[in-house]
């Protein structure tokens, strides 16, 4: 689409562009070019499934108010154009009671319908509300570090970095916090995101209803390693999941205060593995895990006397590459 002048006049061009764009967007959505496991447009569980359907239902209802604008505006411009337009010119016409009622009434009705949908959907997909299921949920404690995620399975005594396996068909109940800055936990194909902050705990629920590998990431910018801060959620059949837990138990390093201090420094998952002397080719796995690690992390910010930068593992003072404050390193793009 180049910048060119069309003979039929600008209104027509502008109009066509608007419609083209709308179609382009719709086509993008429907063509299925979304990579599997990356987005709620290829949902892997009921929560993301509902969110996808909300997306389309809300759009469809809204179109009742929006389509008339997209269709009528070009028609009006065409019909009432100064040169050759067929419409009757009424210079002082500026009010119509019927039109006025429609203009206010229709949006009010649509918004009323949308609001009912919104309230119902929001209460139904509350991340604090457990997923109704006969199966006992898998408990996962997630800790956001710079720039990686630590997943603790307290009932299994294992922990992993940037990789989490969950059994298919079993609800997963997350408790999340951060031992760095503010981050946001998103596994789009399974459920929407939830923020995590140091000293605070949030919750999230999700469930996979098919096996698959689902991309997860932090979506809240948190510095140098942000773009690479990705993780994978593997939804496995029950037996495979148990085998995965066993492998983690066998291969794991113990996770206690000393190991955790190394892990929590600003680094990527593989940099952390290197620092801990583990293989950098696969995600870090820990077993056994210090009991109450999650609570310890959560409470470190509530102690009297506070948590100074030197006591905050995500802080810049711990970073190898950012050892000096950025301003003094002259980092106008100088960081490799």
């Amino acid at each position: 689409m180049k910048c060119r002048v069309m003979p039929c006049g600008y209104a027509d061009t502008v109009t066509r562009r608007g419609l083209q764009s709308a179609l382009l967007l719709t086509a993008a959505l429907l063509s299925g070019c979304t990579p599997q496991g990356n987005s709620f447009f290829t949902p892997g569980g009921p929560v993301a499934q509902s969110e996808q359907s909300h997306f389309f239902v809300i759009a469809a209802i809204s179109l009742v108010a929006i389509l008339p604008v997209l269709i009528l505006t070009p028609l009006i411009v065409w019909r009432y154009r100064r040169h050759g337009g067929k419409g009757r010119y009424v210079r002082d016409w500026d009010y119509s009671r019927i039109l006025e009622m429609g203009m206010w009434g229709v949006p009010v009705l649509i918004v009323a319908v949308l609001t009912m949908q919104l309230v119902r959907n929001t209460l139904e997909l509350d991340p604090y509300r457990p997923i109704a299921s006969e199966v006992e949920p898998l408990r996962v404690e997630a800790v956001a570090l710079n720039w990686k995620w630590l997943f603790i399975l307290p009932d299994h005594g294992i922990a992993t970095v940037d990789e989490l396996a969950i059994p298919v068909g079993v609800p997963v109940a997350f408790r999340l916090t951060s031992d760095s800055g503010m981050q946001s936990f998103l596994v789009s194909a399974l459920a929407g995101q939830i923020y995590v902050m140091p000293g605070m705990a949030t919750r999230q629920v999700l469930m996979a209803d098919r096996p698959g590998s689902f991309a997860g990431r932090n979506t809240q910018f948190n510095g140098r390693g942000f773009a690479g801060q990705r993780f994978v959620v593997e939804a496995l059949p029950k037996n495979d999941f148990e085998a995965w837990v066993e492998r983690a138990r066998d291969a794991g390093h113990p996770l206690e205060a000393g190991t955790y201090a190394v892990l929590a420094k600003p680094s990527s998952g593989s940099e952390a593995a290197q620092a801990l002397g583990a293989s950098i080719d696969r995600p870090l796995r820990f077993a056994p895990v210090q009991a109450d690690l999650f609570t310890t992390i959560l409470h470190r910010y509530m102690r009297p006397g506070g948590a100074p930068p030197t006591g905050t593992p995500g802080a810049v003072v711990h970073s190898k590459t950012n050892g000096m404050p950025p301003g003094h390193a002259g980092t106008h793009g100088a960081t490799p």
Partner: protein
């Protein structure tokens, strides 16, 4: 030495960084700094060579004329727009190559770019643009000679310019924040960002936000107190109504950001714990304060454009504005509702489902008055005689694109959808979809529409159409792909990505970035072409578009005092009605002396010492900070001892000027709308006749 320049060192110059480590990213940073320095030197040389310094000082910098202050605001906005679009296009270009770390910018540099781009576009492009437009037009539309507080107006401009200067200085000395335009702690706190970056952000925002609060007070009082006799509230042009709502929003919404940024400064500089994770600090409070400002801010940005579009639709349809009362009610409703929805910026922060539902529903409600406005503009065109002038192209492009943005806005108002697309490029596409058509197109339409009023000649049409077309096409190409990749799961602010399916979309988006750059270049070209042809494009009689409101009754450019005789207003579209009835000013009028404010150096002094204060606070140069604050306070005290503040334009001079203007207006041949875009249009309109 160290105490004298605080924590500033030679290594803070980007040239040093580029020499030490010449990566493409560092070279781009150094190149930008070099261009800025070169531009400043070139400007100084040109001003010296043409001996323009004294004229610049006397006629512009120290002037208290609301029109000149408004023009300076818009010049500032256009300069910052240049930097903003280049930064935006640079990010889009980088992303086109950034699959698996393939881009040419470093991670830090990319973060700095999205932070400066957002900060500049909101605070130093959009805000000065709309403030400038309101400054110029509102007094003319309500029949006033100036704003209520001309000095405060100059100080507002000075503070805004100081903020902009800080952002520009950060290009040359040190580094700007990498924490985004919203500057959320704890990332921008001392533990995670100990450098000067967030301080640059804090002080530029603080200075500009104080300036804007003062502007809000000024505009509100002007509209309440300076209206011409007969100009009741319900006779005001829509642009004045939107300006009034904006002024009220500025008064109530800007203080939270001033407070939030200063609290963050206390955290960073004096070890306070407002927003830290420990010792009772709470980062959520920053998010609340920020969006308590941030959401009304959205309407501060969009409402003036709504005002411009209302004028444009009505003028270029040759028709009264449809549903004036509805539009007033809708504008007011939007202004009030804008304070009730801020939580929708963080549905994902883990608030209770009931909280999210209430704020989601409140957000949805805003769609009602906004929808009414769109329908009213359509009904204004309905039964009109539509001329597809350049402002009208922007306006129609706006209706179509903004409505699509409205659709995605309604989707985002749903917490369950926000959970998914928050922090993705879908969100980025949405707010650009609101702000590019909804703000920038409006400002550019207003610029094109009122340019002849302010400068006395029209802007060239051909380059104008090309510019508008490239903005619309460029915007569409840049941002519709972002909707798609956002839904495919691409997060915002990522400097690279690993999903190959994103890349084709990012390539299209980068092409759009080039078209936007082209649009900006054409905007500059249009100005050059028009200035060259200014004699032929001149519209001295002042009414090139068959305008409907009072400003078009004044000559172009208007005299310093706007109106020799304060007009008496009897109708909503008073000027249009008078033209239709063939009634003009009564014959036997008596002219009186006009009192105007004298020039003062207070405005530029506030800009200079505000900038110094900012630099001092950023670099911890405490003696300079103290000296700047004392000077700023001293300026106010000093001013209060001055008594000779006004000058008198004698009645005879006013009369002579006014008679000359009236003769000119009488003798100018009237042109119909067919000849509107031709050189025959000298600014006296033959009104469009009903059949």
């Amino acid at each position: 030495m160290n105490d004298f320049v605080g924590r500033l060192t030679w290594a803070d110059l980007p040239f040093a960084a580029a020499l030490a480590n010449p990566t493409p990213s560092a070279l781009i940073g150094a190149g930008a700094a070099f261009l800025l320095v070169l531009g400043a030197i070139a400007l100084a040389v040109i001003l010296t060579a043409t001996r323009a310094w004294s004229g610049l000082w006397r006629d512009w910098l120290t002037s208290l004329d609301h029109k000149r202050i408004g023009i300076m605001y818009i010049v500032l906005a256009l300069v910052m727009l240049a930097r903003g679009v280049i930064e935006g296009a640079l990010m889009r270009l980088h992303q086109a190559f950034a699959l698996n770390g393939g881009g040419f910018l470093s991670e830090d540099h990319y973060a700095e770019l999205f932070s400066t781009h957002g900060t500049i576009m909101i605070f130093f492009m959009a805000m000065p643009f709309l403030t400038g437009l309101i400054n110029i037009i509102v007094p003319l539309q309500i029949g006033a000679r100036d704003v209520s507080f001309p000095l405060i107006n100059a100080i507002s401009l000075g503070l805004t310019a100081a903020g902009a200067a800080l952002v520009m200085i950060s290009l040359v000395v040190g580094q700007f924040s990498t924490g985004g335009w919203s500057g959320y702690p704890p990332y921008t706190g001392i533990a995670f960002s100990p450098g000067e970056g967030p301080d640059y952000w804090i002080w530029s925002i603080t200075l500009a936000s104080i300036g804007t609060t003062l502007s809000g007070i000024n505009f509100a009082v002007t509209i309440y107190k300076e209206r011409a006799p007969g100009m009741t509230f319900m006779r005001m042009p829509m642009f004045c109504w939107t300006a009034l709502c904006v002024a009220i929003l500025m008064i109530f919404a800007l203080p939270p950001i001033t407070v939030a940024s200063l609290m963050l400064a206390l955290d960073r500089t004096l070890g306070f714990h407002f927003f830290t994770a420990d010792l009772g600090g709470n980062m959520m409070n920053f998010a609340n304060l920020f969006w308590l400002f941030g959401h009304p801010e959205v309407y501060i940005l969009v409402l003036p454009a709504f005002g411009v579009f209302s004028e444009v639709f009505s003028t270029f349809s040759g028709k009264r504005l449809y549903g004036y009362t509805s539009l007033v009610a809708a504008t007011m409703a939007i202004a009030i509702l804008s304070f009730t929805v801020w939580v929708h910026h963080f549905f994902t922060m883990g608030g209770s489902a009931y909280l999210n539902a209430v704020f989601g529903a409140a957000t949805m409600t805003i769609a009602i008055p906004t929808g009414v406005k769109i329908y009213d503009w359509m009904a204004t065109m309905y039964r009109g005689r539509i001329r597809l002038s350049v402002p009208m192209v922007y306006a129609i492009g706006f209706i179509m694109l903004f409505t699509i943005g409205g659709l995605t806005g309604i989707q985002l108002a749903n917490p369950t959808i926000s959970y998914q697309v928050h922090n993705t490029l879908f969100l980025v596409a949405h707010f650009h979809n609101m702000l590019v058509p909804g703000l920038l197109f409006g400002m550019l339409a207003g610029y094109t529409y009122w340019f002849p009023k302010v400068f006395g000649f029209r802007l060239d049409n051909r380059t104008g159409y090309a510019t508008a077309f490239c903005w619309i096409a460029g915007f569409t190409l840049v941002f519709f792909p972002l909707y798609a990749v956002g839904l495919m799961g691409m997060t915002r602010r990522t400097f690279d990505y690993t999903v190959a399916a994103f890349q084709p979309w990012m390539t299209v988006s980068a092409v759009g970035g080039f078209i936007v750059i082209l649009a900006f270049a054409l905007l500059a070209a249009q100005l050059v072409v028009s200035v060259r042809q200014r004699a032929r494009l001149a519209v001295p009689a002042g009414d090139p578009w068959d305008g409907r409101s009072l400003e078009w009754s004044a000559p172009s450019p208007p005299p310093e005092w706007n109106f020799a005789i304060i007009p008496q207003v009897d109708d909503r579209d008073d000027f249009a009605r008078r033209k239709e009835a063939g009634i003009f000013v009564a014959r036997n009028v008596t002219y009186e002396d006009i009192e105007l404010p004298k020039n003062t150096a207070q405005g530029p002094a506030y800009a200079a010492f505000g900038t110094l204060l900012g630099v001092a606070m950023v670099w911890h140069i405490w003696w300079l900070a103290g000296a700047s604050v004392l000077t700023l306070i001293g300026l106010v005290i000093g001013r209060s001892f001055q008594t000779d503040l006004t000058r008198i334009i004698p009645a005879a001079e006013v009369e002579a000027a006014d008679r000359a203007i009236r003769r000119l207006q009488r003798e100018t041949p009237a042109t119909g709308r067919d000849a509107e875009a031709t050189f025959a249009n000298r600014g006296r309109a033959l009104p469009e006749m009903a059949p």
